[in-house]
Symmetry: D2
Subunit: 209 residues, 4 copies
């Protein structure tokens, strides 16, 4: 239980300092409701914390975190689609003007894909069935004899572009991008150097912000 | 673009102060990989940021964020199950010893459920199909003539218990809970007062931490 | 100028994140004026930052920082007495109820005293003339064959008691301590371990808080 | 004792989160000693915390805090001169390359000077004898029919220039400024707006950083 005790200690520390600092803001957000600046789709990875990286306050970011920060293509059936539900809520209910796919270096999910351990088998693996969303990214990125870290990074970045494309398969996003109400962004964070990159469509490359 | 510019300014601020503080830790986490203390399943809500609330550092929390912090029941098919994939990765690959369902007050997803606007219709709504995971919670909590905020809070808390039950439908969780390798926790945060509650099984109630 | 540029970058980071968090509090403090919880007399040492160590917000601490966190005895002449002026302002104008002498480990000023390099000579040295406030502390602490780090720590702590005694030579402090309006505290921080100690009069020792 | 208890709670919060973040840095600073980027002479005012405003880490700033952030002129006698001792220590022992006088808006010490309540009488007042360091600043700034807040601000800024001149009366500073080893800076912070200004010698004015 020592991990849990350390989290409870952490909560008391939060309550003493940071909650005291943010109390007025939080109470105002309780009254008025949230109107976030952006929706961020980020990885579950414990080393990548978008609210820290982007220096935001409570109320700023509507946040999805899933393995490898993936957006599946629109599939309107009666199943439980968590990321798609979050997109629908963010765009049609909260009218958030920006969606940021926030990829990152050394992603365990992408590594599993790159290493090929999930390719064929394992129909019963949730990870395999989830990570295959990025299968095309692997093929595109891996086309050119890259290896090791270079290949991993290329797939991580190609997968961001893949998710940006999948975003456009949702009608409620497509129409708002078309008329300018929503903008899509592909960002890539390297937590080992602190560098943040943004995909530049014209240059076809990720550029240091 | 002013929202995006403010996030980029926020990133530069992070890079100047907080990245500098955490640089050694992040580089060590880049080398050794992550071994988080706990997995947290929290809501997308911009007002609830578990890493702040629990005073954690990079590397501490493996984080899923979806609408209304729900865990669907185990359904082993070939679809893309984001939350289930994250659970599988956290438990079978990272061997994380704790899973915390982190509910919260004034949850928009639960409110949609409580207000009944998603009940029958709307098969094509991702939100409706997602939030119905908590349908049983609504029925249990709503049994006793509660109304308004009281009802909302009761459903929010019943839904946490519902997700804890759903966690136990995953074989890889069930067996580890049985032999003590994994512990499950239901927590509830009220961001308007800063209070954090934990579900106490013996008392059958959420207790202030 | 690179040090200055890094401070200016630091200011912009502060302005982006922390000022935004504290803006309402600061504006309220601008209107109402300050009414601090405590006055702290701390060292100039760059490694000891009381507002961090005590988790305080703007408005909480009225702060003197001088070499070795010393309080000179009351000497009412027409000279410029910075620390005495701060005491008078804190107690007679702001009515602050607590004065904390915040000593610390590895103090360069105390080390100079312990090493004896300032004892006899050097009438023209400001450091020598300042640090000799703690001369008695050195004699008391050094009475018992201590050496090295142990001696240094003993003098650091004896000097805190010496400053507490010097506080009582100020009539405006003495009368308020007598009638309970002001309380005096001797604290000691070891920045290499993060431990904070408080002087316990009954036990005659510094106790871990 | 509730103020003291809140500071002790604040310390425990610091120890849980921030000490943990800075532990490696502090231990390295314990081993190697400090080599600060700059010395800052700032006010005791609880609303102005230079380490926050400049986004610094432990080890960055050697800090003097006295009433109204004043530097007295060099007066080499056998008295206890706290600020002069700190200057001597910073420059001759630690070889710090920058000295920043950090003035601020709504300074209580300067207000006492402006309101004239300290002018003639009160030889026994430590505040009066301390604040008269800035007497010339009052005369220069007040030459031109300014009133109220405008006058107060003018004296606050003139007093910074006065302290910069007084710095040059210390031989160990003068020689190092002459040969470029030390640079002097006059900064002014308005905590009610978050603006930081730097004195620009060529323009003869304080410029927004």
């Amino acid at each position: 239980m020592s991990e849990i005790n350390s989290l409870i200690k952490g909560y008391h520390a939060y309550h003493t300092i940071d909650y005291r600092r943010d109390e007025a803001l939080l109470q105002s957000l309780a009254k008025k409701g949230q109107s976030p600046k952006a929706m961020v789709i980020s990885c579950c990875d414990s080393r990548v914390e978008p609210s820290s990286i982007l220096g935001t306050l409570p109320g700023d970011l509507f946040m999805v975190r899933n393995v490898a920060n993936l957006v599946p293509p629109c599939a309107a059936d009666d199943r439980h689609h968590g990321t798609s539900a979050a997109l629908e809520y963010a765009i049609t209910q909260l009218h958030i003007p920006h969606i940021i796919i926030m990829g990152h270096a050394m992603c365990g999910g992408i590594k599993a894909l790159v290493d090929g351990i999930l390719d064929d088998s394992n129909d019963s693996s949730f990870i395999a069935n989830w990570i295959k969303i990025a299968k095309d990214a692997k093929e595109e990125a891996g086309c050119c004899d890259k290896e090791g870290e270079e290949l991993q990074r290329a797939v991580e970045q190609a997968s961001i572009l893949n998710s940006l494309e999948n975003l456009m398969t949702f009608p409620f996003i497509q129409e708002r991008v078309a008329d300018g109400r929503v903008q899509l962004h592909g960002w890539y964070f390297d937590f080992s150097t602190g560098e943040l990159f943004s995909y530049d469509k014209e240059k076809g490359a990720f550029i240091n912000l």
